[in-house]
Symmetry: C2
Subunit: 442 residues, 2 copies
Amino acid sequence: MTHILLKHATIVTLNDEDAILTDADLAIADDRIVALGEAPADFAADKVIDLSGKIVAPGLYNAHTHAAMVFARGYAEDMPLDRWFNEGIWKLESALTREMVRWGVRLAMVEMLRGGVIGFADHYFYMDEVAQAVVESGMRANLAWAVFGHDGGEVGITVPETVEFVKRWDGAADGRLRAMFGPHSPYLCSDEFLARTAAVAVREGIGIHIHAAETGGQVEASLAAYDMTPIELLHDRGLFETHTIVAHAIHSNPIDIAILANSHVNVAHCPSTHMRYAMGVTPVPEMLEAGVNVALGTDGAGSSVALNLWREIRLAVVMQRQARNDPEALGGLTPLRMAARNGARALGFAQSGVLAPGFQADLMVIDASQTHYQPIHSVPASLVWNTEPADVRDVMVAGRWLMRDRQLLTLDEEAIRAGFDRALAEMMAKPLGQFKTYEVDE
Amino acid sequence: MTHILLKHATIVTLNDEDAILTDADLAIADDRIVALGEAPADFAADKVIDLSGKIVAPGLYNAHTHAAMVFARGYAEDMPLDRWFNEGIWKLESALTREMVRWGVRLAMVEMLRGGVIGFADHYFYMDEVAQAVVESGMRANLAWAVFGHDGGEVGITVPETVEFVKRWDGAADGRLRAMFGPHSPYLCSDEFLARTAAVAVREGIGIHIHAAETGGQVEASLAAYDMTPIELLHDRGLFETHTIVAHAIHSNPIDIAILANSHVNVAHCPSTHMRYAMGVTPVPEMLEAGVNVALGTDGAGSSVALNLWREIRLAVVMQRQARNDPEALGGLTPLRMAARNGARALGFAQSGVLAPGFQADLMVIDASQTHYQPIHSVPASLVWNTEPADVRDVMVAGRWLMRDRQLLTLDEEAIRAGFDRALAEMMAKPLGQFKTYEVDE
């Protein structure tokens, strides 16, 4: 058993009282936090680390991404969402390879870890590659294999195959891995397929990660076809009878919000993508007020360009303040709590996201002694509004350092860069497929 | 004469064609760029620098700030603007000291330089201290001494004294310093004082830097008192008959925009502050379309917490996309152009902000070889959406390196930190003044 003692830190706990401790200790035994504030007199540390001037906080969770899509970073800019899909991303993805996913997810993990992200909910293809990468990296993840399901069958992977995928990985890597179903969305999956997926999910005890309600047009189309909003439809077809992550849920009305709250649905809010593609303003304060667990995601780099949770933390705030003309919206630690504690819960890591005895030792160390943090009148303000990825010095998951002094300890960045460049060159050399003609808003 | 040759760089010129050169040279003689693309065969470089994997772009300008106000970073959060003034900032400022300005501006310069900011338009008090700091730092700046002018006289500094201040510094430090008048605003200066300031400005050939149209309430109050909007009033009283920077101008109607354009007024748009305090959405696309020179500012750290122009660059875009439901608003290099080229023009540095032969060698070097930039499908997208201050490696002003490999060459950071801490402790130990009761919206 390894005992680590962090000393003289400012500790942002994100516990129920939002307690912030100053000049405090944090004692870690193996994978868990055993004491906070002052370490027990009999705590025999193998390693004592002085964190004067540093802030320790729970690590961040990226609650919705397509990590490997870093290959599409900046590929389809400054256009409406339907053109982004049809002329950009789907065209490029027609050439997707297993190798591209293998190296893409690793490149994304380098970027995320360097910014204090300790876990991510991934929704993509070739997900065994992603699982293997997560095992190696020491991060946490919740993996969903994306399926476009139609009445005539599934595209790419079948429901029985995704059951096998989930059984292979859910709970693996000492519990660092969770796996779920990934039906793409109510607009790209048939009604019958969604109901079938839900039935299997409930029977097998498997969660679901799905996109919904991204545009007003999707809501209108759903109302026209089913006389139900996308959220009502998912609820009606049984998808909320298990642990569910709904990405986006931008166009949610008060009834939708009540359904999300009563069904304990986790919402992954992705402000960079929503703002960049003018998709609308999610009623996040109303969701939080109703008790919905709203977490934050970057979405894929194809739409957000950067996998920077700090940016999402701040955009979540300013988006609401602008939209509702309310300078008090989502104040204090609220956005950080969404990114860390709510993220942990959304991904199914109930023992993470809070710094408290008994919880997993999942944390990041931020160098708030730097000049651009001075002076610190308010720890929440400085942490939320001054921190960029480069300010995160160390990252720990389950008591294991994954980054120390900005050196990655589990990922071989040089090899990843070489593999990524090779896979991308091979993919870009392939002929790109036909434009798909599916209209997102229809 | 010093000759420097930068080689193998990706060069974002921000010239009229928005040209981007790859694997290009940039030749510098003394303070000026002499060649771009390929260096002349007879260019004898004293120093050759390989910039493979790096992006070179014009340095950024912070077109509206109160730099020394870093002392108020995070001091008054999550509240409406009138409470921010009355309960927060003005209370703290009642204890302001010359020492606090001396060290505050230096701390701010460390933060700005580290993020690629080469010049700033400062609007504050004890401005001789700021001027001295700019001389030492090697940066550019346009300095305005803030005046609250009433019919009975000026608070703090008189108009003749500001004339002396301007004459002392305008054009100093080999032209790196500009100085202007700084009447605070139409809501904190009397009508008569504004007219008097404008008359002296025109007579003496002095520019003006002023706040205006920050809230809807200010516009209503101006209409009630003068039957003119704040922009119309400033125009009518002659403040636009010289080189003028108007900070904010958020609540500008089409007639205001026409006035700003026809009068060649420079607008300093500060999205962090506008969004955090829910002040409204400036019609920036309409202003640009009308020919208004819109630059970007951080405002003071008392309202923006960070002096990070990259954040302003991105917020300027997403603010518009959200507000007008337009995913194509301010695309490509537009926001960078606002921060660099438009900023240089706003501050009165016509030979800066563009990388072209004959222009000043004012530039930043960005390390786009890092993992979080990969792959680069689009230089504009990667530069605008992936760059954080920590990615800026080098900064040059007038051919002189102010930062190399993130080491500051003109500022003594350790001494600045010590001086800042001392000045802040002295200021915070003073009794704070009465709350001012001025209502911003009245």
